[in-house]
Symmetry: C3
Subunit: 333 residues, 3 copies
């Protein structure tokens, strides 16, 4: 665990532009909307014959994955390459950097190679903040998931998917279902949905998988999924970490599916125009019925497509914010 | 194992152009010749100072290797990069995708990232066909070897090497020597040689390493290498999978070498202008005598060079065929 | 171990230009100065918005690391990408190439793929020479560290760092401290410092970590660090291989630190304007006190930055030398 600072002191430059992307918490509605608008333009570009723009040409992006995640690493690698960046993939086992000093040396070495951006996935909450604020402030840091804290690009690709299908956030009732307690995705989603003005945010989970004082985030808590899904416009399923199954926190896989799996039957309780989302990879028959995952309400593959666009958006915006700041610093010397 | 469809229904678009490259079986002589002609132009390009063409610029090629093969993966990676594509390497252990559904989800996720081409190596025969026909028909699929079924780019680089040295296929007698039973390369070679009009195709192997009914493919079978090599123009050695040695199918390594290894002595039985080929990596002193591998008849390194050119050819042709089809589909909407 | 030839017969073309970069030994002062001048121009380029030049566009650089080294491999990968080369990373376990013939086949295969440059790291002294002279003379070979023999790009980035801070080499007294016996870096540094005209080169180490006849290289030997550091302008620390600790060659870690670790206290013995260097990664509290590593005399991160520039310099120079030679060969045909 790392100590925290006000994220906006860190992730915005003096002109109020994004220079790191660490969390959705504390970012203004205007900033989240700018990210979504920029991402939309990259969605359009992806339909072109040549899916490549020179925005990060000659820049070096380092994928620093202290925790393995082929899928997330691939989307960031693709996003960086489509922005024409040079990409370096480093898979660093947490063990070899167990001492804070050694991690710091590794990062300062990467910075000294004139890296421009670090994409950081780490099992410790706050790792990306720590790096951005204490270690290499002149390198744009993109949080690709830190402990139980945040996974802001996942949350923003979800927001993009909702906006494409629902237009405005104000009239929406959104339900987040599953292991809220261990989910960095849920935290980032709640912050983004509140800022973007969603009418009601529900979390649906067994008591054992709910963080204490979760109501303080402005959500309504349901332990009964049948009640929680009633008339919702958006169902956001969370991925179930199978390793949690062995602990006492969770009932058996089949019991969990009965109570909190998204089935065709339960889906009938939602609004007729509702959509279903899941961050993937999905556990068919555990969190979600196969026919729901592949059905007309499912946005799962759309989310993947939007994931590239959102990552291109925050990468190009953060790089722009860093460059503006460097120029300002040079000008004031 | 996956069920099979007529390959030409899958690998050609409605205009008869290549849109996947799954097998040499069923492709017309004109199509095989077009592949060889295109490859020849890339051989010329490789002699230039700048070995790079923008044919796949802005396209995303994903190397999906469910079975490890550094050598084949490297040639495809190089071919894609010389075509200016963005390349993503994914090494997927078959174990993690043992359920068909999970493999399907992985592939559909990669497709949703706007991947344009999958290069697929898989231990199951028919895997590439299955993906191209059932999973992601809009992504160009290149078969980089599937089970015992096919290894069509290897066969085509062999054809390119033969044509460069012999000109026409019609007058040629070609011998394929070794473990025919387990070889995906042999199957692809036989289909290509027949279509291109080779006069006679001989297979030389011990009875235990011959598939049943192999004669139905239009080949002459020899179990005696001394008879089989007589006056042949081309000797195509197969790689011996050492792991087969332990099984009862094979005699000892030295006995195999005595009977089916290509030595200087045996080579004297072939036509004076004969050439020798091997897909590599070679087991010196097991399938082939060192002086033969390094001798003037050996085309082994030439095959490697041609391998890049053939892969560039089928990748650019299949991408062109996909794009033509997409435009046709849009036009008819 | 591989047999050695006069390195200059190998690493220079007939016009006297660099065509491989294998060792600093035997290279002229003019050549070393040209490398430093070229590297300086790349240092300037790295401060630009777009850190990319097209000098190696369309060229294929293969990273052949027979010995793992994430850090060195990363710097070469970045250097090659900033020169616009296509890069292929191959991690080859020494075990699979234990037979010389097999290594040779691997390399000739890579050459046949029209590779233009091999970056070679190998545990055997002389491996890079062997490849350049016997295996693939038309591929530019860059030595990224071979056994105990040489690590010439490390030595040249050290020379660049010294020149940036001290200007001329002639007035300098330089101390190299630590495990001289096992260090390929020390050998390369000594050759470069002598050729560039440093006034005095001292090596400081316990008797057990000094090669026999080291004085023949033109250095002064100190076993007492307090005496050896007196008035030196440059302190070059070596990395301590922790695995050596277990052998009888080394005292305990704390005893080594007491005798040969660089502390603030010992640093006071050096010239007031002295600088401190270390090839990294550093073992804080083993070879160097943390406050020294992070202090104003420390050049450690500067060395990392210069490492990219020096690698870009030798890569672009060796490629130029190869191309000149190829053209000369073609002209004389």
């Amino acid at each position: 665990m790392f100590e925290q600072q006000d994220p906006n002191l860190i992730q915005l430059n003096s002109a109020g532009q994004l220079k790191h992307f660490l969390t959705t918490e504390g970012l203004s509605r205007e900033m989240l909307t700018e990210i979504l608008d920029t991402a939309d333009s990259f969605v359009d570009m992806s339909a072109q014959q040549v899916k490549k723009v020179p925005l990060l040409r000659g820049k070096t992006v380092v994928n620093l994955f202290f925790e393995a995640s082929t899928r997330t690493a691939s989307t960031f690698e693709l996003a960086a390459k489509r922005l024409s960046a040079d990409v370096l993939n480093l898979n660093i086992k947490t063990s070899s950097t167990s001492k804070g000093e050694t991690l710091k040396d590794t990062l300062m070495t990467m910075e000294a190679m004139h890296s421009d951006m670090f994409v950081v996935r780490h099992s410790d909450s706050g790792a990306a903040h720590y790096i951005a604020s204490n270690v290499t402030p002149h390198v744009a840091v993109i949080n690709a998931g830190d402990g139980r804290h945040a996974h802001p690009t996942q949350a923003m690709l979800d927001m993009l998917t909702i906006r494409q299908h629902k237009g405005a956030f104000e009239p929406l009732t959104v339900a987040i279902v599953g292991d809220i307690l261990h989910s960095r995705v849920a935290r980032s989603q709640i912050h983004a949905l509140r800022t973007l003005g969603a009418k009601e945010i529900r979390v649906i989970a067994p008591t054992t998988l709910l963080p204490r004082h979760i109501e303080a985030l402005g959500v309504t808590v349901y332990t009964d999924m049948l009640q929680g899904l009633k008339d919702v416009d958006v169902v956001m399923m969370l991925r179930l970490q199978k390793e949690r199954m062995q602990s006492a926190l969770l009932p058996s896989e089949s019991e969990f599916y009965n109570l909190y799996g998204l089935t065709e039957e339960k889906l009938k309780l939602t609004h007729p125009d509702s959509i279903v989302m899941h961050p993937g990879p999905i556990n068919r028959g555990v969190e979600i019925e196969t026919s729901v995952a592949d059905g007309p309400k499912s946005m799962i593959l759309k989310q993947v497509t939007n994931g590239i666009a959102v990552r291109m958006a925050v990468m190009s915006m953060a790089m722009g914010g860093q460059m503006t700041e460097h120029q300002a610093e040079r000008g004031s010397e």
